[in-house]
Amino acid sequence: MLRFSVLLLAGCLLASQSQANDTLQHRKSAAIMPDADNAGLKLPTGFSALKVAENVGRARHLVVNSQGDVYVKLSGKVGDKGILVMRDLNNDGRTEEITGFGNYGGTGIAIHNGYLYASSDEEVFRYKLNAKGAVETPYQPEKIITGLINRRQHESKSITLDKNGNIYVNIGAYSNSCQVKDRQPGSLGMNPCPILDSAGGIWQFKSDVLNQTYGNGVRFATGLRNVVGLDWNNQTNSLYVTQHGRDQLNSLFPQFYDTTTNANLPAETMYEMKQGDNAGWPYVYYDPFQNKKMLAPEYGGDGKTEGSAAYKNPAMAFPAHMAPNALLFYTGSMFPEKYKNGAFIAFHGSWNRAPLPQEGYYVAFVPFENGKPTGKWEIFANGFAGVDVITSTRAAQHRPCGLAQGPDGSLYVSDDNKGTIYRILFNGN
């Protein structure tokens, strides 16, 4: 079922049948049968899941259009295709036809005001969507942003858009902690960190202007080591991001940290970032046990000394090293009320905790009320790894990487290890 095919016939079939509106989408999803084993996932009561497709490639972020077609951004191209278009031709909720375009690998993809936006590791493109939500000229994209730094480390450019014609792009720091010699034991931090001029933050550009680069954009928020998950929260009308915290406290500074403290520090963090905010990388890291911003050892810290209080506090802290790769505010009506306007986070899973077992490899949920996180986060969907204890990253079969909401309110999750696309439904009461 998953061959690449540019089926003219199938295309016609789709065009003629798909005058879908919301209610039709709802009726359709009511008919979708989940997989008998819920795609191998463990979910809260009333939820079920299916595999939409398997082995599609290294599926990073994804987005679903008004017709239920799934656009997937691949980090390595399959043939000459870096964006896949997956269609459900018989309303079984699964993919029967995969086509593609976009001759570049990357991570970011979004749909906004009649355009599909997608990023490589240096540039952002957009494609006009027709009335049916389809890209009509896949080989003539508009290049809206170019020349962004890619030094291979933290290279992915994640994107989201606001309601005022702006696009936000993460430019990750090409360094762990801005040491003079990256990741060299004992090497101290550069002060001030020169990386922050062109990376280690979120840049804001216009969503409809061609060929913008650093000079045309605004460094919207800084002090963020690497943000792979970000989303515009339409309720608070503000940007939320999830940061990958620094690595290797104990292997770089064994005099201050042991394997256990390294496994648990620092927290992975979610921030609400307003223009001009600074989250403090590389000078501080967040300790979730003391609820404090600690001075990084590269800048004179010793695991006990607090850093400047001026830096932004996280809206929510998570266990260390779990790699939050996607953030999505749920606005659908399929899931129970509790989920409305709350945040789903896809954790790619850790590697930095060795020799302790690795953690993450699941989708978490953060409940929100009146635009603020309430209480505790929880694991929403687990079991992607396929094994209970992960002692080495390669043991995990699937790694959650992207999140998208379907027009019916179902939640899609991509896996960039084996290329499985999951779809989670609610059909309980």
Binding site: E155, Q184, W351, P355, T393
Partner: protein, 146 residues
């Protein structure tokens, strides 16, 4: 006049001594490799495991596996020594894949420690390379590295 039997006996004795000598040097060598591997494990746990993982499996697309890696199992010991001395961020293809993390220099380790950790990664998991890396080899590569 000595009998053939006596000559045979003497010959046998010499041959026996020869084998004994060979096997003790063999044993001495493998014993020193064994202890080098053991010491190398300590270095690996402190310095390398975080990236290359406990099982030498690495992290997909980030840090390459050492288990089964052709360079690790290969004949070119100088190349391995030089990777540890200089670090690696070449982004070259490694057994068909690319990796995006930076490996720093570990030149602050002693010649002995570098030999030990290389002997450990060459003789652990599925890797079995009996030819040891010696501190003298590390010393000579270090002298040639600026």
């Amino acid at each position: 006049m000595r009998s053939i039997k006596q000559y045979a006996c003497l010959g046998g004795f010499c041959l026996g001594m020869f084998f004994l000598l060979c096997s003790t040097t063999g044993m001495a060598q493998s014993a020193s490799l064994k202890s080098s591997i053991e010491k190398g494990k300590t270095v690996y746990v402190q310095r390398c495991m975080v990236c290359h993982q406990q099982d030498g499996g690495g992290v997909p697309h980030l840090n390459p596996p050492l288990d089964g890696a052709s360079a690790v199992k290969g004949k070119d010991k100088s190349k391995l020594i030089s990777i540890l001395l200089k670090g690696m961020s070449d982004r070259v293809e490694i057994d068909g894949e690319y990796y995006s993390n930076n490996m720093a220099s570990h030149a602050d380790l002693s010649d002995q420690q570098i030999a030990d950790v290389l002997n450990y990664i060459r003789n652990n998991w599925s890797n079995k390379v009996p030819t040891p890396v010696t501190p003298a080899e590390v010393k000579s590569v270090r002298a040639k590295t600026k």
